[in-house]
């Protein structure tokens, strides 16, 4: 345990918890940005600089914008309705479920004898070797991801514009 890790962990968890509990969507979204930044710091701390930049770029830069768009486009729902009885039940059951999952996971993590070598941490990957990996052995995957991006983009466009004339879709 070192201090940096503790700080990062705190940032991540605190922002996540706050985001999960805020009423105002905008606040939640902004807190989540903090959460994602924390994750990026974690990557940086772990020596994966490139991933950290990617995380910052994609999540902080792009997905947060998407979230904001979504919020603004559906702004009648900026704040949630008051808690109803049924909703409160759900919150309780959710917290219970989450706790159970965490318990199980924590037990599993702690009970597992993980063979690690913290004394000799794997050296950080250079950009060059990463690029060579991506363009070499992983080229197929890169291509597939490219296709996936394209397809999902198209799909998104289709979904969003499916009934642009405002007509009701299928009943």
């Amino acid at each position: 345990m070192n201090l940096t890790f503790a700080l990062i962990a705190f940032l991540i968890l605190a922002s996540a918890v706050l985001a999960a509990t805020r009423r105002d969507l905008i606040h939640s979204a902004l807190l989540l940005v903090g959460n994602w930044l924390g994750v990026a710091f974690f990557y940086l701390w772990a020596g994966a600089e490139f991933v950290a930049f990617a995380q910052a770029l994609v999540y902080v830069g792009a997905i947060s914008m998407v979230v904001l768009f979504a919020v603004l486009l559906t702004r009648r729902m900026r704040t949630e309705l008051p808690l109803l009885v049924a909703t409160r039940d759900r919150v309780v059951s959710a917290v219970l479920g989450g706790a159970a999952v965490f318990g199980v996971l924590a037990v599993a993590v702690l009970r597992t004898p993980l063979d690690t070598n913290p004394a000799k941490p794997a050296g950080s990957v250079s950009m060059l070797s990463l690029g060579q990996q991506l363009m070499g052995p992983q080229a197929a995957a890169v291509l597939i991801v490219g296709v996936l991006l394209t397809v999902s983009l198209l799909g998104a466009v289709v979904l969003a514009s499916s009934d642009a004339d405002g007509k009701e879709g299928a009943p």
């Binding site: 999960a20 994750v39 772990a46 490139f50 991933v51 759900r90 690690t116 913290p118 999902s152 969003a160």
Partner: protein, 104 residues
């Protein structure tokens, strides 16, 4: 408890927060944000295992996997934005519990 386990616990906690968010909130956007959190938790695991795995195993696989995961997340985000908008068009709100038309 070594460093790896700490990292794994962190990611477990983050995952559960995400799960609770997704389960408890009725706003579709927030549900999806919860899912994003869970995704990030999974990514944390990759990096942790990569960072603390014994030297000599696959050099950069974890990093590359996370990169792809981020890319997929970006794609996913685009799709869910569209979904949210479509949902909003259909029912004039984005409460997830009301989107039950496809029930059996």
């Amino acid at each position: 408890m070594n460093m790896l386990q700490a990292c794994l616990l962190l990611s477990s906690a983050l995952f559960c927060i995400g799960l609770v968010t997704a389960l408890s909130r009725s706003n579709t956007i927030l549900v999806l944000l919860g899912i994003e959190i869970m995704l990030n938790a999974a990514n944390l695991n990759f990096i942790a295992f990569w960072r603390f795995s014994p030297a000599g195993s696959a050099p950069a696989t974890g990093v590359i996997f996370v990169l792809f995961s981020i890319a997929v997340a970006a794609a996913e985000a685009a799709v869910w934005l569209a979904l949210v908008i479509a949902l909003y068009r259909h029912q004039q709100n984005i409460r997830l519990q009301e989107a039950t038309r496809l029930k059996g």
